[in-house]
Amino acid sequence: MLTCRETEELLDLYLDQELDPRKRENCEQHLRQCSHCRMLLQLRKQETEVIKNSFPVPELTPDFSRKVMAEISLNNKPQSRGILSRILSGRRSWMVPVIAASLLIFVISGLSSSDILTTSERDGAQEGASEIRGTQEPYIDFGRTEQQKQLTPLADTKALSNDESSISSGEDGIPDFTPGYLPAGFVQEGVSVPGSQRGDEADHTKQPIVFSYHNPQTGGYINLEISKADSAAEPSTGREQGITRSAEKEGQHYLLTITGNIPLEELKKVADSLR
């Protein structure tokens, strides 16, 4: 049988349910017989309640989860967190000025020794740059600004700003197939030419063009692949990986393939809305 002193020492653990079964039983046995210790137990319970109520926490701002998800969608995709972002945000931030200085030296030395940009051409650098791209890289205009054209050759997927939601027809002859319907929350993310590489000698006008749409809240995506077809292709309505449609514009046949990680019904609506 426990003494009052021993029981008192065990009361906190008893209330926290952290006593082993044997000690718990001993403690309960004493409590059944000792009114003083029962009163003390009651006091400890009261104390717990008072502490619990003594430190109120304000409510979070209502859009907290939305802010977290926006942050995650924009900046924290595990795949997009590359070496550079880790250097910029991590403990190696001292490397930032070193990298910046190296890049600056590289750019300056590159410009001064370049055969492409001679002194006279530097005055009209924009025209010069356009010429270089025109001869060396497949470049397609999808309604981007002049500045974007100069900065982003279309070899990889490039993010476009949200306000560029429609795509105009390009100089390479790919007409406008902007979907008239997109599920709620989807914005145009970018456009890419799969498999194209710098200096690729292949006829780039035959390459498919992929327009990507993304819902940053849900992680959903839709890809619209447009490729030129030699003749009218057979449309299908339910391939495993998506939906295919054929279309004809200005005497040219096109194959439109819509894929994505959203329900098939939604994909069909997008496919049916292609203009």
């Binding site: 906190d12 006091l43 008072v50 926490v57 979070l60 907290f64 942050e71």
Partner: protein
């Protein structure tokens, strides 16, 4: 019958690419995570920023989460580490943003407003006492009293032993109990005794 998905199920879905499941995790645990951080840093804006960082860190490290274990201690561990690190930074700069926790004083509906004021004063003393504990002791009290976690879960969050949690909790309780005992004495004493012994009572009368 389909119930609410478990945290582990939501983690699995998130890892499979479903961001909506992670949003559900955030909604489910945001107030809890914020509560732990707020009670440590005592500043709403600071606590919200840290809570946001905690969920982002949680998302980035989700693959490391052992799905055989409960989710709450894991996310609390991330949140606690961030808050304790922040407290250390602030201590180095000799600046702690102590935000006076507001209590509802003398509720109009309360039958005896003096009692209500006494209680609020007492609550403030308790929270001040909590503030003066060492950060790790504070955290143990927060996790035990406000989150009702058991010693093993608290030990996991603090990355310490079961016994260490017991010792820290015992130490913190002794300090809190001193205030509590004083309050009980004030309540049970006569008005004259109250005036003599209670700073709470004196402040109310003034």
């Amino acid at each position: 019958m389909q119930g609410k998905p478990t945290d582990q199920e939501l983690v699995r879905r998130t890892l499979a690419g479903d961001l909506r499941s992670f949003e559900e995790i955030v909604k489910r645990h945001q107030q809890g995570v914020f509560g732990v951080i707020f009670r440590l840093v005592k500043n709403k804006e600071e606590a919200e920023d840290l809570a946001q960082d905690a969920f982002i860190k949680c998302y980035q490290n989700l693959e490391k989460f052992d799905q055989g274990r409960p989710f709450i201690p894991w996310i609390y561990r991330i949140a606690s580490n961030l808050a304790l690190t922040r407290l250390r930074q602030l201590k180095r700069r000799r600046f702690i943003p102590w935000e006076q926790v507001s209590f509802q004083i003398a509720d109009q509906e309360t039958a005896d407003p003096v009692t209500s004021l006494e209680e609020n004063e007492f609550k403030q003393e308790i929270s001040c006492c909590l503030k003066n504990l060492k950060p790790l002791d504070q955290l143990v009290v927060i996790l035990r009293y406000y989150k009702e976690l058991n010693y093993d879960e608290i030990a996991y969050i603090l990355q310490t032993t079961h016994n260490n949690v017991e010792v820290r909790l015992c130490r913190a309780r002794k300090k809190l109990r001193r205030i509590f005992t004083e309050y009980q004495e004030v309540k049970s004493c006569s008005p004259v005794g109250k005036q003599k012994n209670s700073s709470i009572y004196t402040s109310i009368k003034n």
